[in-house]
């Protein structure tokens, strides 16, 4: 059990110091925290995890476990345990030997090993496959074994590198719950890497969203969802993703009007703008699919006409794709509403649910 601190951690691959796989990542992971690195593939999240594990050299910056610098320690000396994306079971060893492997290296006595094995076999329900060889197992079982091998040890930090990415949807959900439960039982610091935002939201105490080697935002799932700091984070979290519209801003008396292709989609009172001079002439406006309102009356002010492209009903909700002034927009609707292709509907964008982003930097512009 340990706190993990990253200070300006960098990773350079190859000889060109300009190309950074990880750019100046600084963060602090608390003791017993379930911390998730989230981002698209190639964003540097796995590299960061591997630097914490000691499998990847740290090109710059410092990593601390508690107060101790671990930069130059081998994985063996860092006392971390890790579950790999493709399981990485030892093919020549049985399941039992695979899991007991790290304990045997540490020269635990047989009784302790047996007790620990019983516990882990029970926790991950693998008691009946302990004598088998890895190639005889299904993907889900290999997955469990790999998790078992990672958690059987009393490591400082448990690391998980996309451990569920090769499982089917249902198994993934089951294992997600399992991992969460184990985390609660063990009370250990766990660092988890995934590209699946649902997984991240479900598991994490805190999430670090990464993109292009850079840390975008660190926060609780709620903060990340409700209060994204930039367009990338806003667009990455949520399914279907947030809608973005390029709007022009025009001043009309006390109001600023958001104009999309000559139509006004919303108005903001000037008192709410943080700094009128700094507020750009064009903004990216974001709104979550479930926040767009479908209005019945046509003559209602600010209502915008849109044509239905696709409607999917997935039971507990409906997903609607519409064309609004030439822009595709996603909506989440109530399950009892039905739509047909080509149908015209009217939308309104409640001002309190709009997000504003600088079109050049992607940074969020907060209203008062």
């Amino acid at each position: 059990m340990a706190e993990v601190t990253l200070e300006n951690v960098k990773k350079i691959y190859g000889r060109n110091p300009e190309v950074l796989a990880v750019k100046d990542v600084s963060l602090h992971i608390q003791d017993r925290e379930f911390f998730v690195f989230l981002g698209p593939s190639g964003c540097g999240k796995t590299t960061t995890l591997r630097m914490i594990a000691g499998l990847e050299e740290i090109s710059g910056g410092t990593i601390y476990f508690d107060k101790k610098t671990v930069n130059d320690l081998t994985p063996q000396k860092r006392n971390v345990s890790m579950a790999f994306e493709n399981y990485a079971l030892y093919p020549t060893l049985s399941v039992w030997e695979n899991i007991a492997f790290p304990l045997k290296i540490r020269k635990w006595n047989n009784d302790t090993i047996r007790k620990k094995m019983e516990w882990v076999a029970g926790a991950l329900q693998i008691g009946d496959i302990l004598h088998k060889k890895p190639f005889e197992l299904s993907g889900g079982q290999q997955q469990r074994v790999s998790l078992a091998r990672a958690i059987v040890r009393e490591a400082e930090v448990f690391l998980f590198d996309e451990p569920l990415s090769h499982l089917d949807m249902k198994q993934r959900q089951l294992m997600r719950a399992e991992i969460k439960r184990i985390n609660k039982d063990l009370q250990n610091t766990m660092i988890y890497v995934t590209h699946d935002q649902k997984e991240a939201m479900a598991l994490a105490d805190r999430i670090a969203v990464m993109n292009d080697g850079k840390l975008q935002q660190v926060g609780t799932p709620f903060e990340i969802y409700e209060n994204p700091v930039n367009e990338f984070v806003a667009g990455f979290i949520g399914e279907p993703p947030m809608n973005f519209l390029n709007c022009q801003i025009l001043r009309l008396n006390d109001f600023f009007e958001l104009i999309l292709k000559k139509q006004v989609i919303a108005k903001i009172h000037q008192s709410r703008l943080p700094n009128q001079e700094l507020f750009p002439q064009f903004v990216r406006v974001g709104i979550r699919p479930k926040r767009i309102q479908i209005t019945n009356s046509e003559n209602k002010k600010d209502a915008l006409q849109a044509a239905v492209i696709v409607y999917e009903s997935i039971g507990e909700k409906g997903i609607l794709k519409v064309q609004l002034l030439g822009e595709p927009i996603y909506l989440i609707t109530e399950p009892n509403q039905k739509f047909s292709k080509g149908e015209n509907i009217h939308l309104s964008f409640p001002i309190q649910y709009l997000f504003f982003f600088n079109p050049e930097t992607g940074e969020r512009i907060n209203l008062k």
Binding site: T74, M82, F84
Partner: protein, 304 residues
């Protein structure tokens, strides 16, 4: 009547089946012919030499060749214990010494190659360093450079370094034959091992060396078996290095056999007997690790 009908029907059915079967049969027959042809091609020289080794001198040189003769083990006796039983006795009863020489040279060549080669192969497969591919290619180039091209300079070097006609010298020179082959085959094997398995073992608590010894090496066992046997055979069969860089003291069988070509005549029978004895260790070795060789050499090819 009914019975006749039934028999008729049955024969008809059989005919249809026969037609289907005949196709299968035809490919079967072709296969047998093909295999027999290869078998004859591969085995005739060995059988011929085996027969020669069991003939007395007059039978060996008889024309037309004799297929029916009274076998004799005199040739074997002559070369192993040097017994002089008839007029043209062995002039080189030191054949056992050559056999031992070959054995020493081939074994140590393989041991040295295996030690250096596995480490080199692992490094080439796993680590990235400057000029990696150039180094790998240089190893390979030893293999395709003609031996005759390097042998004369090597002779001069060996003379100066007092390596001429020493076992150490020959074993070093033989590395040119075995080492590149071993490195290239094993490199492929090491590359087949998923990196994550090794990394998992490092995280689980092994040092770099521990991972290599306990995880990686056991996984490439089939490859090692295959290259050891093949390297041993290459080393065992080599002629040119031993001829130029070795002399009386280190002469292996391949050269020893030449000795049967005497001033006055060729001792065909003894030469054949020597050849047969010389082949036996290779055959035995290949026989016992055949399973691994096949698995080893097709490892990359059949993996889906």
């Amino acid at each position: 009547m009914f019975r006749i009908r039934k028999i008729f029907d049955e024969t008809m059915e059989q005919d249809v089946d026969e037609m289907k079967k005949s196709k299968i049969k035809l490919t079967g027959i072709l296969r047998v012919i093909g295999l027999s042809a290869y078998f004859t091609f591969a085995l005739t020289p060995i059988i011929w030499i085996l027969m020669m080794s069991l003939k007395n001198h007059n039978d060996v040189i008889a024309t037309p060749p004799k297929f029916i003769f009274t076998p004799t083990i005199e040739n074997y006796k002559a070369i192993t214990v040097g017994m002089k039983s008839y007029a043209f006795e062995s002039v080189r009863p030191d054949f056992p010494k050559y056999f031992l020489n070959t054995f020493i040279i081939a074994s140590f060549t393989v041991i040295v190659s295996l030690f250096l080669g596995t480490i080199a192969a692992y490094s080439l497969a796993r680590f990235s360093f400057r000029f990696k591919e150039d180094i790998a290619f240089t190893f390979l180039s030893f293999r395709f450079a003609p031996e005759l091209m390097v042998i004369l300079p090597l002779y001069v070097v060996f003379q100066k370094m007092h390596l001429y006609d020493t076992f150490v010298g020959l074993i070093l020179a033989y590395q040119l034959i075995t080492l590149p082959f071993l490195i290239w085959v094993l490199r492929g094997f090491f590359e087949e091992i998923p990196r994550e398995i090794e990394q998992a073992a490092r995280v689980d608590g092994y040092t770099w060396w521990g991972v290599f010894r306990r995880i990686s090496l056991p996984l490439v066992k089939p490859g090692i078996a295959a290259v050891v046997v093949l390297s041993f055979i290459f080393a065992w069969n080599n002629f040119i290095f031993a001829m130029i860089l070795g002399s009386e003291r280190t002469q292996p069988i391949t050269l020893g056999i030449l000795g049967f070509i005497g001033y006055e005549r060729v001792l065909w029978g003894q030469m054949a007997a020597a050849t047969i004895i010389c082949v036996i260790p290779e055959l035995l070795l290949a026989f016992f690790v055949q399973k691994y060789i096949i698995r080893g050499l097709t490892f990359g090819a059949v993996k889906g």
